[in-house]
Amino acid sequence: MDEPGGYAGPASKSAVVSDDSRAFDVVVVGAGPAGSASALEVARAGYTVALVERGPYPGAKNVYGGVVYGRILDELVPGWWERMPVQRWVTRRATMIMTPTQALTVDMRAQDWGRPPYNGATAYRADLDAWLADQAVAAGAVLIPATVATGLLRGPDGSVAGVRTDRPDGDLTASVVIACDGVNSFLAKEAGMYPAENVAEHTTLGVKETIALPREVIDERFGLSGRDGADIEMIGCTRGIPGGGFLYTNLESVSLGVVVGLTGLAAAKVRPEELIADLKEHPAIAPLVRGGTLQEYSAHLIPEGGYRSMPELVGDGMLVAGDAAAMCLAAGIWLEGVNFALGAGMYAGRAAAAALRSGDTSKSGLAAYRTMLEDSFVLADHRKLRKVPDLVLSQRVQADYPGLLCDLVQGLFTVENPAPKPGLRRLLRLGTRAHGVRRRDLVRDALVGLRSFG
């Protein structure tokens, strides 16, 4: 059972191959958005590519909130909105700042987002990932589902030369391996591309309930019609454990969940589903979800560290893309991973094809991948927002500021006649004192926010 490379896990090991002929030009591991985008681009360039997925079908192992932002698809699958399996088009995006008894919401509605080229769409991963993999297969990629890549194959010179799998005679040799194996990425770890540090520090756990409700009830409660959808992000709803919540509308269900830091969760001794139960009882959320039936409970990890926690992206015969490379952008009002995975996968596929064309699949032959990422939103956004994950997960943003803001606005809106109306400055003074917020922290955080978002 402990045969080296027998099973994919933290202890998986490489095996050496000597034969020079390769079964495929490229092996992509993981048929999530990153993997399918990679395989699609490699196949389009005319090279042979295997797309290995451990689930019985693409998407079977995957969980997200559920909104896909489509701009990158314009380039990858032109006309995607006519064919992608969409639940609803997001025309309403809200951010809710909460305390146990208060909620302050910024609520944006844009009808532009409800027509081509659209902005975001809700979709189930089983549908979305299968559809994306179909695009790769239609272009010529070979999908190999129900198969675990259990370790790397190495050539005599140490460069990556394919993967082992859990199938009998399951070695798949290739000139390039693109690791799109998601947040736990045992392949990138095995390749030594991750620095040896505590990954739990910047990993969060997402738990989600898909709750069935009739379409008309959803339309009414969220103020929607047709295929329009809503997307609510929440902060301050996780009992002080660094994290946040989300509520998204599908056609006949809503997805309600929380995302919490692993170290914070372990220390707080709170069970994750209790946090969802809190939300379902919160006065701002309860009326939106009541009476629904639980359709599926699910859980998945998220790499939230951003730019500073990314591994090396290029090795000899190997590229890493998507969550496997911590490319998920989780910065407060944004939770975007699918679009970053699609972008990274697309560039990885192109870089692999270019390296094959030039006959050099070594680290330097594949180096264009990093440049393409730097020149695109994938690394540009991450670099710009590199300080945001720490800020968003700080005690101040998690607990102090939501309380302060809610009290401030409640103070402004509470009518206290015959007492005269309090000035904003007085409310701010009272609030900062009540919530233990130091002015200089407030100013410093505001500056980090301005520099990052500005």
């Binding site: 994919a8 079977a60 969980v63 991963r125 859990d166 739990a200 692993l262 170290t263 069970r271 990890l301």
Partner: protein, 101 residues
């Protein structure tokens, strides 16, 4: 009959897990060495595992069943004890199957 734990307001944990499809593999893909757990003071896995699969025993160890596992990786990441958890993915096609993920 087990009563509903008040922590899981509204829905019993078994019912919650009954909404998830598992193709249970004959091979336990995760094993826990209860001997190691006996000297663990945090028992971080007990609260953090979203599937609630780590059950503390009277002797201070852990009773673990792999069958209803999300394969998320939380447990091996929060566990600090060397050798307590042996973690692998189930064989291809087996384990959890999400439909509304």
């Amino acid at each position: 009959m087990t009563g509903v734990d008040p922590r899981y307001r509204g829905i019993a944990f078994e019912d919650r897990m009954a909404t998830v499809d598992f193709r249970v593999s004959p091979r336990p893909h995760i094993t826990v060495d209860s001997e190691v757990c006996r000297s663990c003071t945090t028992k971080a896995c007990v609260h953090a595992c979203p599937a609630n699969l780590f059950v503390p025993t009277a002797e201070g160890g852990i009773l673990f069943n792999y069958e209803q596992c999300f394969e998320c990786g939380t447990c091996y990441q929060v566990c600090d004890a060397e050798g307590a958890i042996t973690w692998t993915y189930p064989d291809g096609g087996q384990g959890v199957v999400f439909r509304k993920g």
